[in-house]
Amino acid sequence: MINAYNFAFFDEGSKREIRRATLKAIALPGYQVPFASREMPIGRGWGTGGLQLTLSLIGREDVLKVIDQGSDESVNAVSIKKLVSDTTGVQITEHTSQATIIQSRHRIPEVPLKKEQILVLQVPLPEPLRYFESSEHETKKLHAEKEYSGAWLMLFEQIMKYGSMTTGADHPVMVHGRYVMAPSPIPRFDNPKMDENEALILLGAGREKKIYAVPPFTRIVSLDFEDYPFEKESFDGKCCRLCGSEGVFLDELIDEATGEVYYQCNDTSYCYEILNKDEKAGVN
């Protein structure tokens, strides 16, 4: 732990401002609360919004997990973990079930979250209406008036063009029947996990200076149409080549030697846990 820094990097005033915004965000599920995003010693777009949330929350007793697109070991995840651990001395884990704070980019872990946990999601583009409305003043007005026909039209146009909702990641959701929200670039596979989740989910956008929240047990509905219902990515009939898991988000990979397509868990710590469990079971 480096003592030259404040605990959790920030001065108390910076933490207080983020904390006030966070509490407001929890009281207004899905509403983007502006905050005075700070400069961070990591590049913008590398999760500074999520990092600021994590630093404002964290205490000495916390156990932190950081994942980037399913991996605990990516350069981005490692540098975030190093900054937090250097300035707080908290314990770091790769086991989802052991973490009290999980900061993630692009995924919600496969292991179901618990009541004692907070999931912090890094957000590059918090405004789900930005795709068709460039003015912040206008999107704020649309949210204020609950005028979301543009969001539906955007989805409808995609259906017309591609024959299905090919939104890929960041498929917009309706929160508590009031706000349309960008769930951050998680795959559609993870959208249903947000609905009535046990854990508090906080979302932070550093560059866009917004914090928003999904409290536990909050209704989250992915936008769709009766004729074109929301569908998550399907991995039917496929399983992880390493651990054999089905029903998880799989990465499609190509064996360079044989040219064969195979699949592997995107959530690597989940994959290792299943593998270790199998090994132990094999020994007994």
């Binding site: 605990f7 005033g13 006030r20 509403y31 205490g59 907070i118 704020k140 204020a144 536990p216 047990f217």
Partner: protein, 206 residues
């Protein structure tokens, strides 16, 4: 002050996060409250002061209701450098236990509810109340609550009705935080629906 403003206020904040994201979950501020010296509290409870220290600074404004309002405003201003203002302009409204009947209703009525475009600019009311305990006098539902949760708060008056009125046009409204003399904390964000179980019984009989 034996209170560590970094670690102990982080702990108060996390309890506030827990209780606000799970309305009906009672948090215990006893450990942190015990670290505040008695002479610090100029007529307000230690848990109220803890919340002021956690949330206030020169960037926000506040107002105190109660017989010792002026002294407590002075104290909070000195500790946090937040500015005391009129009720309708305050970001945080603090109600002391002795403020008396009708003051919570008055505060709810006067508090800034924010606007449809900026609902986050609304006020938070932090009130000292009678005992907060698990029970079923009030039934809570809404985000953060799986189906329903019961709670008892010793607090007279028609504050629930006034709160309903104030929060009628979601997302505008006010968020409430209650603390009792045993440092038990209850948070009621505007999304929480409150039903008095007496009403439920009445309906049952009918």
């Amino acid at each position: 002050m034996k209170l560590d403003v970094v670690h102990d206020l982080q702990s108060v904040y996390r309890k506030l996060v827990d209780s606000t994201s799970r309305p009906g979950l009672i948090s215990d501020l006893g450990k942190e409250a015990a670290l505040l010296d008695g002479e610090n509290a100029a007529g307000c409870s230690r848990s109220l002061l803890l919340l002021a220290l956690t949330l206030l600074d020169p960037e926000v404004t506040f107002k105190v209701y109660g017989s010792e309002a002026e002294a407590v405003e002075g104290e909070i201003n000195q500790l946090t450098f937040a500015k005391a203002v009129q009720a309708d302009q305050a970001d945080y409204l603090f109600l002391l236990k002795d403020a008396g009947a009708g003051y919570l209703e008055h505060a709810i009525e006067n508090a800034n509810p924010g606007t449809f475009a900026n609902p986050h600019k609304s006020a938070v009311i932090i009130a000292e109340t009678g005992a907060i305990t698990e029970g079923d006098n009030l039934l809570l539902s809404g985000p953060g609550i799986q189906t329903k949760i019961g709670i008892n708060v010793e607090l007279a008056g028609d504050w629930i009705e006034k709160r309903n009125e104030k929060n009628r046009e979601y997302p505008t409204g006010v968020d409430l935080v209650f603390v009792d003399r045993n440092h038990q904390l209850l948070s009621l964000p505007r999304t929480t629906q409150i039903t008095e179980s007496r009403e439920v019984e009445k309906e049952w009989v009918m």
